[in-house]
């Protein structure tokens, strides 16, 4: 089963290597990993989608906690949350197909972000399923290039996973 982990880490050099290295050497499967800084520039947030049973997930979480740079981990899989992925898709078009691709974009509320004589590039955000569906719809046109960000996720309502960092006094 796929689990979505929200992981707050210190924005130190090498932190991504530490996290990714931990997954590979302990034999855990990463499905996707998206990382960027939070409102606090000293802290980054990773959204890690990992595959495994409950035992694996428990070990993933505990082993991640052992990394000194990891501040907080939340498994949001079973909590109400919003998750999104961003995709950019470049599709070859000609006079006949251009309109059809734009109609598909419309249906998926995708934006045209580049309009060339022979290609269209679409931007879409949504759940992984929606993006998969868009990809499927565009496949017959022959996708030239496709890039996905991996999932990012945030809890619904008043709940949040931000850590309040205070300098620890001696």
């Amino acid at each position: 089963m796929l689990h979505t982990l929200a992981v707050l880490v210190e924005n130190n050099p090498g932190v991504l290597a530490r996290v990714a290295g931990l997954f590979s050497r302990r034999g855990f499967n990463i499905d996707s990993l998206a990382v960027g800084r939070t409102d606090n520039p000293a802290i980054s947030r990773m959204t890690i989608v990992v595959e495994g049973d409950d035992h694996t997930l428990e070990q993933v979480t505990k082993q991640l906690h052992k990394l000194v740079d990891v501040i907080k981990i939340n498994d949001v899989t079973n909590e109400p949350h919003v998750d999104r992925e961003l995709v950019l898709i470049k599709v070859p078009v000609d006079r006949a197909s251009r309109l059809e691709v734009m109609q598909i974009a419309d249906v998926f509320r995708a934006k045209v972000v580049d309009y060339g004589p022979k290609t269209l590039t679409l931007e879409a955000t949504g759940t992984g399923e929606k993006i998969d569906a868009l990809e499927e719809a565009l496949r017959p046109f022959g996708i030239k290039e496709l890039v996905r960000t991996g999932k990012i996720s945030i809890l619904r309502g008043a709940k949040y996973t931000t850590a309040n960092i205070t300098k620890e006094e001696e």
Binding site: V9, P13, K62, Q63, H65, I71
Partner: protein, 553 residues
């Protein structure tokens, strides 16, 4: 006031109470070595960086303080790797400091450049590359905090040469800033209550104690707990010394080369109290049949150990010493019953033993004599192999930190440099490295270090002309095809003498005692070459993958 980075490093080390560094100089650490010249910190020059890491590890295990080693960049740093991995597997507080090429040359495959922070990522608790000389003091402070608190472990600090030569302001280190690091202390009340009532209910309890008992200094609490519950105690290799071997409740070591009675007790217990252990495969063997009828209570400071290898009924995260105190508050004294009688019968029926010979020397006999000659007061280190298991079985350890051995990584070549570190940390004590002829040759160059610093370590080589444990496995599992396990050795006596140490060759069992007495009396390093029975095996033995109550020998 302005200081050079190298001076800041040494001042920060002094602030952490460091009195000794084990190391080896080289190009990019010259600024540090130059600053060391004017510092009060003692430096021990080993003959190989691996020796420096193991010596720092031995020093740490013997004293309980963090061990410190220092090496130059590239090959100096990579030579530390085995020592760092060894400390990581056995949770030893170690701070490894490595030099690095100047920042502007980083990433260009420069002379003696190695990505040591990348290389040591999986074998350190944490590591640092210092990019700003102003961070140096704080990083040293953090490194020692991380190495010595929570589950101890090695921390590496990589310092580019331009950082150690840069001039910075330094007035001591600032407050710690480790928002994600909160080592646990006490156990959760409800779980401790659950554990206490399970212990009171149990009829056939066994305590399985490991390195965590020694690391947290919980040996007194463990003894008290065992006595209150009348519960027998078995220790892992790392737990040796955490419970006195001469105590009536002692079962000795369990697992692959554990005692029969320890393995039987664990297999038949109804409650297993696992304290500061990690259910290593050398202990559990076939995991499905390990303590299969028992309620398992597991106490460990590292939450990731709970449920990693076996299912645990009562998992308690916390410092072992504190959790045992919490438990003691909740327990009432129990009287020994049928279970204890059964165990005592097993102890009588299946004692550890070997056939003494008056013609050839039995290695077990040498180890027993080391115990007799030193009155059990020596610090024992070991290499890895048959002699290590005999050293675990045939010397009675009654004090924590008296048995120092490579458990998790099983590093041949560990014992001798570790003994040097132990002798530096405990200058007034008798130190023995129990070695094999194969293992001793992996770091034998450290004879130079022992002689150089007048460290009277005693090396007892159990010389059987084989890589003994390899030969034993080949005998048992490879149809006696002794592929590459036979080994010739140099004349250890001449070798010792060439270095300026004393050497003895012992072939007659009646000479064992007198040679050991001479060695203990000597103020020089002594190498004793005991020519032992060639094909002696370590028994009992659990074949890999078998249940632990199914033993050979």
């Amino acid at each position: 006031m302005k200081y050079k980075g190298a001076e800041v490093l040494l001042k920060a080390l002094e602030a952490e109470g460091v009195d000794t560094i084990f190391g080896y100089p080289g190009g990019v650490v010259l600024p540090i070595y130059d600053a060391l010249y004017d510092s009060d910190i003692n430096h021990i020059l080993t003959r190989h960086e691996q020796g420096a890491a193991h010596a720092a590890d031995g020093y740490a295990r013997a004293t309980g303080k963090a061990g410190v080693c220092l090496a130059t960049s590239g090959p100096g740093a990579t030579n530390l790797v085995t020592g760092i991995a060894n400390a990581y597997m056995d949770s030893v507080p170690l701070v490894a400091i490595t030099g690095q090429v100047v920042t502007s040359l980083l990433g260009r495959d420069s002379f003696q450049e190695a990505d040591i922070t990348g290389i040591t990522l999986p074998i350190t608790k944490h590591n640092y590359m210092v990019k700003d000389p102003n961070d140096l003091g704080d990083i040293v402070k953090e490194a020692f905090h991380l190495a010595t608190t929570g589950r101890p472990g090695p921390v590496l600090i990589d310092i580019p040469k331009d950082i150690s030569t840069a001039e910075v302001d330094y007035q001591g280190s600032g407050p710690l800033n480790l928002p994600g690091y909160k080592p646990p202390t006490a156990g959760a009340e409800d779980l401790v209550n659950q554990a206490a009532s399970a212990l009171m209910r149990s009829e056939r309890p066994v305590i399985y104690a490991g390195g965590g008992v020694v690391a947290s200094g919980a040996h007194q609490e463990l003894k008290q707990l065992a006595e209150v519950l009348a519960a027998p105690v078995t220790t892992t290799l790392m737990g040796i010394g955490g419970f006195p071997d001469d105590h009536p409740l002692s079962l000795g070591m369990l697992g692959m080369h554990g005692t029969r009675y320890a393995n039987y007790a664990v297999s038949e217990c109804d409650l297993l109290l696992a304290v500061g252990v990690r259910f290593d495969d050398r202990v559990t063997s076939k995991i499905e049949s390990f303590a299969k009828d028992a309620t398992i209570i597991h106490i460990d400071i590292d939450p990731a150990e709970l449920g990693k290898n076996v299912r645990v009924d009562v998992p308690i995260v916390g410092n072992v010493s504190i959790v045992l105190k919490q438990l003691l508050e909740r327990l009432a004294a129990k009287l020994p019953g049928a279970w204890q009688e059964k165990i005592n019968r097993w102890k009588k029926e299946y004692p550890l033993n070997y056939q003494v010979s008056d013609v050839t020397i039995k290695p077990q006999q040498v180890i027993s004599e080391i115990y007799n000659v030193t009155g059990g007061n020596a610090r024992i280190t070991t290499e890895v192999g048959q002699h290590q298991m005999w050293a675990a079985q045939y010397y009675n350890y009654t004090k924590p930190r008296s048995f120092i051995s490579s458990g998790g990584l099983g590093t041949m070549g560990y014992g001798f440099p570790a003994a040097i570190g132990v002798q530096v940390g405990c200058p007034d004590e008798v130190v023995f490295d129990i070695a094999g002829d194969g293992s001793i040759q992996m770091n034998i160059q450290e004879l130079g270090t022992a002689v150089n610093y007048d460290l009277p370590v005693n090396v007892a080589v159990m010389n059987n002309g084989y890589l003994g444990m390899v030969r034993q496995w080949q005998e048992l599992f490879y149809n006696r095809r002794y592929s590459q396990s036979e080994m010739t050795s140099p004349d250890f006596v001449k070798l010792a003498e060439a270095y300026g140490a004393e050497g003895y060759r012992v072939e007659d069992p009646t000479d064992i005692r007198s040679v050991l007495e001479q060695a203990v009396a000597s103020s020089k390093p002594v190498m004793m070459d005991f020519v032992v029975e060639q094909e002696e095996n370590v028994v009992p033995m659990v074949a890999p993958g078998e249940p632990i109550n199914k033993m050979l020998g």
